[in-house]
């Protein structure tokens, strides 16, 4: 865990680049610091391994003040990746990866084994790459080595300063994807600086929006998009960002909490009554009526009702099973749209993790969300 407490940094004693900044990064979290250039995000990151010394305030790693640690040991135990990669051109790829192990005086065999392991992890054939030189590699390959080098002694924490911003868009996207799966595998605590919103949204568990040396908002990407704390955050991420990244929108954000439903033993007459009341033609059938914890079992539509004239018929006899339709509340909008387009019904039940019904998504709720997030519709053009 990394904790920055009231950290202030000033280079000239007058202008504060970082102002009284507080930030708490949990173990295993991928935190992205984002902001305009000169906002203090890089300085904030560099204070964690004391490449910049805080003017005021304290930084703790696992409860220990970084000031009290041996400076070189501190840095060797924190992975560090920078935009320009900074591989040593006069050393082979192997020697580059083995740098921190060399500083830590590992044995030759251990170093080589680790370098090979990391090259394989980065999907670079080790037998070949180990003996090559940085100038023989493409930009994307060089940054992969940069990441491998940072992982060499298996540090808990990795600091990354705009590592992908100098790469071409295709390579950048590829490395971002690799970073995501790498993080799934390794579960490091990562502090990642960028000015690229898409990158932040793609990679982060949590985003810290930095402006004028202060953290404006520190939250999950979803929360930042849905509830930007102020105009700056909203402007920075763009009002239409949500529209462009429907993956951020989850079923529970779209669903209606009030919708037509009926018990499995409900009668035809009752179904018609509820439909009229709710002005809908589709009801969700639940396993028991009138109780809070209900599970969806099926869907009944006006057409199904019209086919049956007997008023004594019960829902379970005419409903269509919704077994294939039940959607978890954390499903994203893209998947929801897929499911809805395949379903024959206009209403699909949404359940929580215990499979209890929490809401329903109908075309109306989709329409509502689109009007809400799409700037052009909102603009009333």
């Amino acid at each position: 865990m990394i904790e920055l407490k009231n950290v202030t940094k000033s280079f000239d004693g007058k202008n504060k680049v970082v102002k009284n900044l507080n930030l708490k990064i949990e173990k295993g979290e991928f935190v992205v610091l984002i902001g305009e250039s000169g906002c203090g995000k890089t300085t904030t990151m560099k204070m964690i391994n004391l490449l910049e010394k805080p003017t005021k305030g304290d930084i703790f790693i696992d409860g220990e003040n970084v000031k009290d640690k041996d400076l070189m040991e501190l840095r060797r135990n924190i992975g560090y990746v920078i935009q320009k990669v900074g591989l040593f051109p006069h050393m082979t790829i192997g020697e580059n990866i083995e740098l921190v192990p060399t500083l830590k005086k590992w044995s030759k065999e251990d170093k080589k084994a680790r370098a090979f392991e990391l090259l394989e992890l980065m999907d670079l054939p080790a037998e070949d790459f180990y003996y090559r030189y940085p100038s023989e590699l493409s930009g994307g390959q060089q940054q992969r080595i940069g990441i491998a080098r940072a992982l060499a002694v298996n540090p808990e924490i990795i600091l990354m300063d705009e590592p992908f911003s100098a790469l071409d868009p295709i390579t950048r996207e590829k490395l971002q994807d690799e970073m995501t799966s790498l993080q799934d595998e390794l579960g490091k605590t990562i502090v990642f600086v960028t000015h690229d919103m898409d990158e932040a949204l793609k990679l982060a568990d949590k985003i810290a929006v930095v402006k004028d040396g202060e953290v404006i908002q520190f939250d999950t990407p979803e929360e930042i998009l849905k509830n930007p704390k102020n105009d700056f955050v909203e402007y920075f991420f763009g009002k239409d960002r949500m529209w462009k990244t429907p993956e951020m929108l989850l079923a529970r954000d779209i669903m209606k909490k009030k919708f037509g439903k009926i018990g499995i033993n409900g009668s035809l007459a009752r179904a018609i009554e509820i439909m009229k009341e709710r002005e809908t033609d589709t009801l969700i059938v639940v396993d028991r009526e009138g109780e809070k914890k209900q599970r969806p079992v099926g869907v009944v539509t006006r057409n199904m009702i019209m086919k049956n004239n007997s008023h004594s018929v019960k829902m379970k006899e005419i409903m269509a099973s919704s077994a294939d339709l039940i959607v978890d509340e954390n499903t994203n909008m893209v998947e929801v749209l897929n499911i809805m387009s395949k379903a024959n019904f206009r209403s699909i039940p949404i359940v929580n993790k215990d499979k209890f019904l929490v809401g329903a998504i109908t075309p109306i709720s989709l329409l509502n969300i689109i009007t809400e997030i799409s700037p052009s519709i909102e603009g009333g053009e």
Binding site: I82, V85, F88, P134, G146
Partner: protein, 213 residues
């Protein structure tokens, strides 16, 4: 007596003077490396003194060599030592300058990466800066040496010996053979030393840096 006969007759003496010549230049350049390389490294770490040191070294370079030899006589007298001292001053500038340029030309991100990974200043110097700057430093040493082989002929004027002896004797006696016996070995020495040091420079260039240059 033609030149070839002259060479045969004076051969041992030519060899002796060539040896002296190499000794004078060698010692002067060696001392200049000992002082110049650390000084060049030092001024990259202290930007304030960079210009002061470079200006001082520049001044010595600008002084005419003959004048400098003249100036040194009242202070150090004549002979081997004052000659070495003057040649040392001449050799200093290219070595300091190239060391400084070699280290300053290293991409700052490389140094930052080193610091970020927990390398101490001396580790960065030993493992990164010097190996990367070595070809350029070697280039400075090569220039110094070649210039010094030429300038060392003038050292004969203050009694330091070397191939300059033949040249000055030849001039005063109007003997072309003597002049050539001093001038040709000097020229050959400069050319061959330049060639050898060029090979050393190439050899010292790390493989990874060869492709980029």
């Amino acid at each position: 007596m033609n030149f070839l006969q002259f060479l045969k007759y004076r051969g041992p003496e030519i060899l002796k003077l060539t040896g002296e010549h190499m000794k004078i230049t060698g010692v002067a350049v060696f001392l200049a490396i000992l002082v110049g390389v650390p000084l060049g490294i030092y001024i990259t770490k202290n930007k304030k003194v960079t210009n002061i040191i470079l200006n001082i070294a520049n001044t010595f370079q600008t002084l005419p060599s003959l004048a400098l030899f003249g100036l040194i006589i009242p202070i150090m007298g004549i002979g081997f030592k004052p000659a070495i001292f003057v040649l040392f001053l001449y050799a200093l500038l290219p070595i300091i300058k190239n060391t400084c340029i070699g280290i300053n030309s290293i991409e700052p991100s490389i140094i930052e990466a080193g610091r970020g990974m927990g390398m101490t200043h001396s580790q960065i110097l030993k493992m990164v800066e010097i190996p990367m700057a070595l070809p350029i430093i070697m280039g400075g040493i090569r220039i110094s040496t070649v210039i010094n082989i030429g300038t060392a002929t003038i050292a004969a004027l203050i009694g330091a010996g070397g191939l300059g002896d033949f040249i000055f004797k030849g001039i005063s006696m109007g003997n072309n053979n003597l002049i050539l016996a001093g001038a040709i070995p000097t020229a050959l020495l400069a050319i061959s030393v330049d060639f050898i040091l060029g090979l050393v420079e190439k050899k010292l260039t790390p493989y990874g840096l060869k492709n980029t240059q």
